[in-house]
């Protein structure tokens, strides 16, 4: 019996390999679309990035001039610094809060499903809609947030209306919006953990904090790292919130790379230069994600 099973399964494997080649027609339609709307734009962007290309103007080859201009363009360099500053904050807070939230939602309690659904609403809601509500809440004179701050005796903040508070304020909205995604990924990790170590630890008299620190955290660490990488990429790319709430302002104090890219391409119509920004932006995103992926083994 066992011999036939083994024979059967190895035969199946062989046939499986033969069949594998026959599955390509299933990939063709999606392949065509992916090529047209994803791969082609990538290649065309590379091509445009070495051209002098203004909408409505002449198109000429100018080698690496766009890239050289990036290196000396202070506005661009500051946008990189701002993006990194924004990203650092918009990763740390959602990841810390998200892990804490995952630990809470892992425990059983009444109305857990409802509470979890409410918790993930911010990440599902239309970003423009919630950005508008936050904009009204940040209003320096009539906004509800300054009323709440002053009513408990704290000084009013200028929120998005001052250069030094605008990025932390945007991070606040970003944290509100994207902590749920971190929570979901880590919660998925916690759900897949074995129960035995906890029982053993409980018998040995470990406290809840001990078993979290020495059992849950090491076991769930790969999921935390995945959440961290996803959050980093999304924070680097963040645009809707910044676009609607601060519009890169006041002045240029919240102008991130993605926002500057929008301006260069669709306000100044300098497509060649915008393409060079896209290429560098992509390289930065790729480098940071590779760096995080390679470091994820070391921490634990």
């Amino acid at each position: 019996m066992s011999a036939t099973v083994r024979e059967g399964s190895s035969g199946m494997g062989l046939r499986g390999r033969n069949y594998a080649r026959q599955y390509w027609p299933f990939l063709v339609p999606a392949g065509v679309i992916v090529f047209a709307v994803i791969v082609f734009p990538w290649m065309f962007t590379l091509y445009m990035s070495v051209m002098e290309w203004h909408v409505g103007g002449s198109i000429t080859f100018n080698g690496l001039a766009n890239y050289q201009r990036l290196l000396t363009d202070e506005r661009f360099l500051w946008s990189v610094v701002r993006t990194l500053y924004f990203t650092a904050l918009a990763v740390v807070f959602p990841v810390l809060l998200g892990v804490a939230a995952a630990v809470c939602f892992h425990r059983k309690f009444p109305f857990r499903g409802l509470a979890r659904t409410i918790f993930i609403l911010p990440m599902m809601a239309t970003p423009v809609a919630i950005a508008l509500v936050w904009t009204m809440m940040f209003h320096p004179q009539l906004g509800v947030l300054n009323y709440l701050l002053t009513s408990v005796g704290l000084p009013a903040s200028s929120w998005v209306y001052a250069p030094n508070t605008v990025i932390p304020t945007l991070v606040l909205v970003e944290t509100w919006q994207w902590t749920p995604l971190v929570m979901l990924i880590v919660l998925g990790g916690l759900a897949s953990l074995p129960v035995d170590p906890y029982e053993a630890a409980k018998i040995d008299g470990a406290s809840a904090w001990d078993s979290f620190r020495h059992i849950s955290l090491p076991l769930v660490w790969p999921h935390v790292m995945v959440a961290l990488v996803i959050r980093t990429i999304d924070a680097l790319k963040s645009l809707d919130i910044i676009f609607v709430i601060s519009g890169g302002g006041p002045g240029t104090s919240s102008e991130t790379m993605n926002y500057l890219l929008y301006l260069e391409a669709f306000s100044f119509y300098d497509m060649g230069y915008a393409s060079a920004i896209v290429v560098i932006f992509f390289v930065i995103i790729l480098l940071i994600s590779l760096l995080l992926f390679s470091s994820r083994k070391q921490a634990y």
């Binding site: 599955y23 299933f26 339609p29 679309i33 734009p41 509470a115 239309t126 509500v133 890219l261």
Partner: protein
Amino acid sequence: MKRHRIKRLLGNVGFGLSVFALISPAILVFLWMLSLAFKNELDNTAYPPVFIPSSPTFANFIDVFEKNDFVTWSWEEFSLFGRTLFEIPWPGGYLYNSVVVSFSATGLALLVGIPAGFGVAKSKAHNMAALIMIARVTPGLSYLVPLFLLFQWLGLIGSLLPLVITHLVITVPIVVWVMIGFFEGLPNELEEAALVDGATIWQAFRFIALPLARPGIVVALILSFIFSWNNFIFGVVLAGRETRTLPVAVYNVLTFEQVSWGPLAAAALLVTLPVLLLTLLMQKEIVAGLTAGGVKGG
């Protein structure tokens, strides 16, 4: 024993408070949105702020429907995919635009993405999966620079077609990604039995894998629809005055018209309401999809 019970009670109270602290920011922002939308202008500009509307009103919603072309584009000539292709007058409006764009982009993505997910899962074509993953990492705006020029060259700017096409950048990766995971989780035995009995690969897909994958398809559909509906930046760049999707239309209320908070909040609420309801109704599917893929569009 008694002390133990008190300690446990305190622990539970502390835990309840921390859950409350976690969900209260979400509740408060959405409640404030409701409050702004149902207050009259006097309450909305009052200081200190009025939290509960003194006389709740639907005036803001009526205002949205009357002053903006949210629902009807006043029977002017309006065509589906650009005037030259289909000369059909259509009672459009921004709601109609959003519905057409999100449904088309989701439908097309399901049409190509379900077979692709099946193909990748069965043939282990992981380079396709890797490509989808890199697409997930790239900023949405970067596709827009070359595609904008292409659409301009083709004369498509100002119709809904460019929006549908660019929304595929969001929906196709979501559908393929969710479906790969789902087909990989299905047992192989049934299909293999069918193949042994002489079914073609297409038949095995159509009559065995596809019916089994229905829950996965629901997850892919919901997520891809929501992230397409929510997309803002593609519309900002590509939409003309008549082809705005709802998020762009709401943003334009903020920037170009005299800002009064009530109608603005009412408009924002209307735009995000379908998504919020979908999330409340389908939370199990949404959580499953998001946990598996960590997908997010644009």
